[in-house]
Assembly symmetry: C2
Homo-oligomer: 404 residues x 2
């Protein structure tokens, strides 16, 4: 298939583009390198030293003989995006090209507005470009499990059958997102659902859980293909951050009680889920939702797993409970369905000791690149403005960002 990967230079996008190319698809990466710019803005960098995209693609070509096309531009610019759709003629568009960090969206008003406008307008542009120039193309959109929040009933995959006062309907699952970022994905979902109905577009919304891991079969072919490994308080996903903390002897930063339970998946499953969605497209007019994760864990569960893995390696790992900078339930019911991708053939990589060992080993390999000042949360959900502070050589204490 011809597959356009929007945001293909990012964490999930890069792994996906390589996997799809390896599997024989014709792949183009569309990216404006916003993710690299946010690193500069925040004063952070990935633990793993990633290469510029042209060098990544050269290395890929040298190792595999395969070519991934690179198209540089911003999906919020319609002239650019619509030209890409017209000229590349994709069978599927995988849309990762959004601002994806909840803390980033909660820094202040400017970041909240940027996140929502960037994400909503990019997706609207894509919907219009598909309607105008490629109406049969399958949109594979990255959503998030965070769209659902933590309701006290089971979470279904996108829709729920409601029996109410003697009548019945299947309705979109109610949304209770917990940050301006998560809300932007809720907005996207509603917009896409409408366009499938009005224009008979075909779309799959992948409500993804929290991704962990960094190595895939493809990225390990060459040092130049290495993927991002974010461990900072803004972009670092929790398990990766815990491994980096363990590797340098920093306490694991658990927010509140740590009873926050979420769906998780290995990045090797992310890439497989994307291909499964592409190979099994939604029908014209269909807005299909898959919950894309493989296991549920609470945050404190993960901390204890990392602690145990560290102990095996002779590391002493402490678990620190910080005041939760987010507004969320610290203990709650959580039972989210995730069978549709399994039904289509996904064979999950469950979180294992060997995966934890390998993640920890990567963190140890690059431990000299860890900046411990980046671990402590400086974005407090309760503030309208958070000023993130850095002083060279000074580790920021956990309370500094929590002004009210």
């Amino acid at each position: 298939m011809r597959i356009a990967v929007l945001g293909g230079d990012g964490y999930c996008g890069w792994a996906t583009a390589l996997y799809l190319s390896q599997r024989g698809h014709e792949v183009a990466i569309i990216d404006n390198f916003a993710r690299r710019q946010w690193d500069f803005e925040l004063g952070v960098q990935t633990l793993t030293p990633i290469q510029p995209l042209p060098e990544r693609l050269n290395a890929w070509h040298e190792r595999t003989g395969k070519t991934i096309e690179m198209l540089v531009g911003d999906v919020t610019e319609y002239d650019f995006l619509s030209t890409v759709i017209k000229e590349f003629e994709p069978d599927a568009v995988v849309h990762f090209a959004e601002q994806r960090a909840a803390p980033y969206s909660m820094i202040d008003r400017r970041h909240a507005v940027f996140t929502q406008v960037n994400n909503v307008v990019g997706t609207l542009n894509l919907l219009f470009a598909l309607r105008e120039f490629r109406p049969d193309c399958h949109l594979v959109k990255l959503g998030t499990m965070g769209e659902y929040g933590t309701p006290n009933i089971d979470i279904e995959e996108g829709y729920i059958e409601i029996e109410y006062k003697g009548r019945k309907d299947v309705l979109p699952y109610p949304k209770q997102a917990g940050s301006f970022y998560h809300l932007s994905k809720v907005h996207d979902s509603h917009n896409i659902m409408f366009c499938c109905r009005a224009w008979k577009l075909r779309a799959t919304d992948l409500n993804q859980g929290v991704v962990y891991g960094t190595v895939t079969d493809e990225t390990s072919l060459d040092e130049a293909l290495i993927n991002r490994f974010d461990y900072d308080e803004v972009f670092g996903t929790v398990l990766n951050r815990f491994c980096a903390q363990a590797a340098v002897g920093h306490p694991l930063t658990v927010y509140g009680k740590g009873g926050q339970t979420r769906g998780f998946l290995d990045i090797r499953d992310t890439v497989r889920c994307i291909e499964i969605a592409c190979l099994n497209p939604a029908a014209p007019g269909e807005f299909r939702v898959f919950n894309q994760f493989t296991e549920q864990f609470s945050v404190v569960d993960l901390a204890y797993k990392v602690q145990a893995a560290g102990k095996k390696m002779g590391l002493r790992v402490e678990v620190e409970h910080l005041p939760d900078p987010r507004v969320e339930a610290e203990a709650h019911y959580y039972n989210a369905k995730h069978s549709k991708l399994i039904d289509l053939g996904l064979q999950p990589h469950y979180l294992s000791e060997s995966l934890l060992d390998s993640l920890m080993n990567i963190a140890i390999e690059y431990r000299d690149r860890v900046d411990t000042a980046l671990f402590m949360p400086q974005v407090n959900w309760r503030n309208a403005r958070n000023v993130r502070r850095r002083q060279p050589g000074v580790t920021v204490s956990s309370a500094s960002g929590a002004r009210s």
Copy 2:
């Protein structure tokens, strides 16, 4: 109370500002006159000759001795909006300052993006301004019944108790909006709900039905206080448009079968609902939703009512069924609750023959200002681009906008 009316120069906003002023509140109108600019863009004008806002406010002062403050600016500009909140120190903010026409949002990509960015950013700015400078102020936000779509179960007021697989929760009512405009209100609702939770703001979302009528006790005090009466295919609400059509002998333009059923209310009830909401504020942290309408009608019901009213006046009124330019069910179950405002004291003005007579009389009084070329729908939901055409002296036929 000190009440800021954002969008106070528009149809509902103007009537509301006068009513609140008459009732003794200290009122400020915040407006950027975008609504007047859209008239220029679309080549349309209100049937009733409205005056510039300064002249309206002078007339109000002359007739009543009351002063309404005018603050000119755009709510999407944070410096402006936050200064207004800081300096006017409102107890309640009534937020009408959004692009409110579904057809306008469906013209093309630019109008879709404008509508969503304008509405979402304006509301985000307001939430941040309240959080930063007036956290106890009550936000009274205009939503729309269109957020719910037409589910096959009863529509509740904002939330629904769901029993599912032996567990129970009260969740936000599922949303199925039918245009980029209606979707913008869904986005707003989710954003406001989150801010009430995260920041303990207090908000009431008024999911308003379709408003009809133009005269209120206040606007009838002076010719210079007259309110808008939109009858065009973009901004004209259906009953007002039917009355204008009847007044000039044009067939009533029913879209499809006309079985589309919606909630409706008299503009005299709009203004009362707003005051009721202000006088009974939501609690800190509460996101409260009222369905603001008084009766349900199908579109064809209304056409027959206008036909009957016209007949009494000696007008021959035909009903024409056009292909529906919208994507919507033309016949469906519809039972929407609307008791919360009644419980707080609303005494509805139900649609009566005398109200229809008075509406028709206004249409007849200003019939010379009717441009019949503006009746026919030129925005087709199924198109990604609609080019609205005007030729002087030529009535546009109903099919011209329906290119696919």
